[in-house]
Symmetry: C2
Subunit: 508 residues, 2 copies
């Protein structure tokens, strides 16, 4: 791995740490120093990688930022509970204070996110703090609609290729560009080892779809799947430190006829696997029938549910249909059971949804799932964007984020066409950071528009380096600009010297 | 110019012509033949360039599709009027029938757009049909919110570079990817010759900002601008065949103080020039005081007004402010004067607007401008997307298109950073076609979702070539797919053979 990918100095930035008041914690942020001396503090997902002088050693793994807190808690109580359990007791954990500080970047003092707010949102089930005790390398972060909209980047190999090192590199690359969580969706060989390497080197929560590995264990034969092999897979991944599991427990036998009538049927891999299993065995979904056992297991580690939408629409024609909404109601029922067990839970959402149907999707999710955080893939607002589907989905993602979705799963330019490479991961992550940020502004997150304000002031003052350093991808912005003209321009490069509106404005 | 850029055969498509019933017209469309024999007809902006065997000769220029109609009209009436004048008399012109046929692609018979509807929308001022008599090479198209959302691509040189040939090539390239109109914003040398070459070779309406050339005529000295030099420029460009003029007649002296208080001041070049002129000369905007004279001039050629928003916000902080809305009210007043003179008119809009303020912007425009078509730049929903601003603006563009905007001006990845090159033009045009198409679906244009339906059926059936050929950029989609795997796959390339949801669905 190349250490230089985490170099902040070329963007006139550095890593700073803000100390906690309730707990002995230090929260890493990125501080950009502008040409006029102004300091702008930005949310940062890169963990110690951006610490000055840090050397990447993927064999050794990351320092364990949460180890001392966990040890301390265990010594005091004799046992470990979920963040939801602590919140219900009125306790503010170090993780809660950590995310309160993280979320307050750019906020005026009076509007800062408090640890109490974090705790109360978790109690209400409106937010989760994914934090498997076995993944102490991950820095705490929160997913909930009162907080910044988060984005997830999917990585993972398939039977068709890519090595363990390549997947670790993709994870770090995603984190560099701002991924708040990473999902490892590997389905090929070396699943266990790939996941282990990612977990030990990733400073953000990791999610998986355990069904993929369970299916590999029965050699791809869906008919041979059973609760036992699935449960063993959950335990294996829980012990490794996965922070949230996508579990397709909401698709039931009764939903299948409506799904088979669709234009694009079932497009979720997990959903199609369960549908096939139920149909072959004439039995109800074993993830549904064993749901409380799964709760018991997840509770021990503080792993969160990400209840999978096996019936998400795969085309505009199938959006908001009987199959999708039928499953969504079951997901709401399962969310209530999960919370009863003090297990944190989020709900996965579509998929392909035209703009005029997005609000209905969001409103039904809020109503039926008691405001559990929504975690959507896109939605894609058209089916014809092949090669540009990061954009098709960023349009829907920005809108649904504004309307209340807490986390957006990125979609890359290669969606529907091929697996993403390194460049596609960067393009996908930055595109979704942009969509999430637009949603933060629109929903009125108190700190969100500060970065835009600083950017616009820099633009009006022709402070080019400040513009690059405040943008989501300073390297690309800088490169595009300097390919055209040299530095030191006192006019916008698009207009030439006579036609710079800002320069003319200043002369009035 | 490379003829191959307009080759349709590699996408299993061909140019077909549909005949008129009222007039001897033939309307070009693109017909894609799917692997299962289904024919899908798509809207096409490429004119004769995609006719089988057509050879590009930029020296000779395009055939004049409207020449015979114009001649016929002149012989019959002894004079020429605007499309708005004919519509008010109840006349359906060949241009009106032409766009009715064009707009009905994909529509069920009962929902087809009729020539009467086209005429009535023009009478109501809710749509325009830009058609300078001196630009008979342009195929008729319509801009109005009852019709497909259109997109414009800006091209043009600046003092910093690019040749006439390069600009013609950019115009054709934009048209290949689906630009509905092109604006030539040249500010450098050879403005007249560049425009002439573009006009004679472009099958879509051309727009300009005449102020740019007027300013060149006074050697860039804003103080030296005057009505006479501007009027001479209008006449020069009118004679050449420009179809619509951006004219910043709505920015008045009273608006300047509010604009100067902004974070980013005035970001419209035309707006800043007029503000500077007014402030230096202590006089009202001469485009406002001479507005009726301009109407008289435009009427002779049937050139449409695109009333410029000199005070569009250039940052989130300035959105929907006193300066913008003050000017917008004046634009509404000018639109009423324009219609009184039978001159067609559209209104330009922002700019930078966060998502939660877009609807207010659209509603005020509808109210104050009596439903005149809105033509927006984006809007960009954040300020920090440098290098990705085609996406920042596609998000806002899709939303405002859904809410009623009739045409979106594309924004390229290089916005705020540099002038776009050929690749940027392609990326910008396709991105905005996607945003416009998403808006067409959401607003319920009767034919819009048919292409998505065909695409999704192809996806479910694993008809890969059909997916490429139905997408907005078949070349990119095909390339991305085949870089990863060979042809003939019976599973989605992302999932490998065991994990294809669609394949599993089919086996149920």
């Amino acid at each position: 791995m190349d250490n230089n990918i985490f170099d902040l100095s070329s963007n006139n930035a550095e890593k700073i740490y803000i100390k906690g008041k309730l707990h002995p914690i230090r929260v890493g942020m990125r501080q950009v120093t502008l040409q006029n001396g102004t300091k702008v503090i930005l949310y940062d997902t890169t963990g110690v990688y951006t610490d000055n002088g840090y050397k990447i050693d993927t064999g050794k793994g990351l320092p364990k930022v949460r180890e001392a807190w966990i040890k301390d808690r265990l010594e005091k109580d004799g046992e470990l509970h979920t963040q939801l359990w602590y919140a219900k007791q009125g306790i503010i954990t170090p993780e809660m204070e950590y995310v309160a500080i993280r979320e307050s970047q750019g906020c005026p003092e009076k509007d800062a996110i408090t640890p109490e707010m974090v705790r109360d949102e978790i109690v209400a089930g409106r937010a989760i703090l994914p934090s498997n005790y076995r993944h102490p390398e991950a820095e705490p972060m929160i997913i909930g609609n009162k907080f910044l909209v988060k984005i997830n980047a999917n990585i993972g190999n398939s039977a068709l290729g890519s090595s363990i090192d390549e997947e670790v590199e993709k994870a770090l690359w995603a984190v560099k560009w701002g991924a708040d969580t990473v999902m490892d969706l590997s389905t090929g060989k070396d699943i266990h080892q790939t996941r282990e390497a990612i977990l030990r080197n990733t400073p953000v929560p990791l999610g998986t779809v355990p069904m993929y590995q369970a299916l590999e264990k029965v050699k791809g034969k869906i008919e041979d799947l059973n609760w036992d092999v699935y449960k063993q897979t959950l335990i294996e991944q829980a012990e490794q430190g996965v922070d949230y599991f996508t579990i397709h427990a909401g698709i039931l036998r009764e939903h299948i006829p409506a799904a088979l009538k669709r234009v694009t049927g079932i497009v979720s891999r997990g959903g199609s696997i369960m549908a096939k299993w139920m149909s072959h065995n004439n039995q109800e979904n074993f993830l549904y029938t064993h749901f409380e056992e799964i709760c018991e297991l997840l509770k021990k580690y503080d792993i969160a549910f990400s209840l999978g939408d096996g019936l998400r629409p795969g085309s505009i024609a199938d959006a908001n249909d009987e199959a999708q909404f039928g499953e969504l109601k079951v997901l709401g029922e399962l969310a209530r059971i999960s919370r009863k067990h003090d297990v944190q839970v989020i709900i996965e959402g579509p998929g392909h949804v035209p703009m005029h149907l997005i609000r209905e999707n969001m409103e039904k999710q809020i109503e039926w799932c008691d405001e559990a955080p929504f975690y959507t893939l896109g939605p894609l607002v058209s089916d014809i964007g092949a090669g540009y589907d990061h954009i098709t989905s960023a349009i829907g993602g920005a809108m649904i984020g504004w309307m209340g979705t807490s986390m957006l799963c990125y979609v890359t330019t290669k969606e529907h066409l091929a697996l993403p490479n390194r460049d596609d991961v960067r393009e996908g992550v930055v595109t979704f950071k942009l969509a999430a940020h637009a949603a933060d502004i629109a929903k009125g997150h108190p700190g969100a528009a500060e970065r835009d304000l600083q950017m616009s002031k820099a633009r009006f003052d022709m402070r080019w380096n400040d513009q690059f350093n405040l943008s989501l991808d300073p390297e690309r912005a800088r490169k595009m600009h300097f390919e055209m003209i040299g530095s030191g321009a006192d006019h916008c490069s698009m207009c030439g010297p006579h036609f710079c509106a800002m320069k003319i404005t200043k002369s009035i």
